[in-house]
Symmetry: C2
Subunit: 194 residues, 2 copies
């Protein structure tokens, strides 16, 4: 998605350790018009999949997920992150490790809001090692629902998450694919969606 790649080039900041900061438009300050365009793109890509629910994780996944839900007219569920958990009877839970923050969270989704009839699209802002997506896939598996695919705003293609998702036979659509952040430069995988 050219508009997104241009925005990453102009407003993303490459930090040491292969970290790309996009808090100017995606995960602290949010550009709602860009999010709307992102939602349109995901809705277009999954238009034929009879999506009934969108699943994401708080907090940075919410804006692109809600904009996608707005186009597809389906509810969005954001999994909650918890440091620890006691009551879990009415919740699906999965463990999610954050490599950048070196933390371990549990994510939860209420059993009330997903069921085996659902065709789900998983949306998240970033894909690196894939921990958040695999947490959501584990919850989808517990709920026995059909995952139609995964939509990612920014994929770091040089990290293992993308390949691991595809290895499971799951459809992955990433709107910007980063080949490298070497020498402080963003290089995209050259294939273009538009």
């Amino acid at each position: 998605m050219r508009e997104l790649e241009q925005r990453i080039k102009s407003d993303g900041v490459v930090l040491s350790g292969d970290v790309l900061k996009v808090d100017q438009f995606l995960n602290h300050q949010v550009d709602p018009d860009l999010m709307f365009a992102i939602g349109q793109r995901f809705a277009h890509l999954f238009a034929d999949n009879q999506i009934t629910k969108i699943l994401t994780v708080e907090s940075s996944g919410i804006a692109p997920a809600v904009m996608t839900g707005l186009q597809l007219h389906v509810p969005v569920i954001f999994a909650r992150k918890h440091k620890s958990l006691t009551l879990t009877d009415d919740l699906y839970t999965a463990d999610v490790k954050s490599f950048t923050k070196q933390t371990q969270n549990k994510i939860t989704v209420s059993k009330k809001y997903i069921s085996a009839d659902d065709h789900v699209l998983i949306i998240d802002d970033f894909l690196a090692n894939g921990q958040a997506v695999f947490g959501l896939l584990e919850i989808a598996n517990q709920a026995d629902l059909k995952v139609e695919g995964v939509g990612i705003v920014i994929e770091k293609s040089f990290q293992p998450g993308a390949q691991k998702i595809k290895d499971q036979g799951i459809r992955l659509e990433s709107l910007a694919k980063i080949k490298s952040l070497a020498n402080g430069q963003v290089t995209f995988v050259t294939e273009q969606h538009d």
Copy 2:
């Protein structure tokens, strides 16, 4: 806002201790079409205020805030919650106490994204004791920016937050105002916006 009040009546759940659960459409599962309508309403109410930025707190404020930003075509900043903080040179910070969860958080906003030129609209999902809003107001004060008003999706009018905001001379617009949750029943303040 009648559509919102009807949704609260049909899908909200009143728990003991004056807790209203609306995780069916607002803060766990999200109804994007309702959020869009909420964004339209806030945009209409603050159409003459030359809003340049919207400020909210993760996570439940993000959906209504981003939909409002979409209508006003301005960036949305969601303050981050932290249990503890070390590096703060480039951040505005404020303390926020949660009465329901009995926790104390720090919320932060990057100094890069707000400035004294900004006319800000604060948006949040719930107003009870007003802790989150007062945290955001403190950050607005540190950044010396102009707060044009506060937009709340659901106000619990029987708790002190709303009056405290108005006592400071700040404009408050709440789309649903709850007078009472006594006996498990939702009763609204009778004035109607539409």
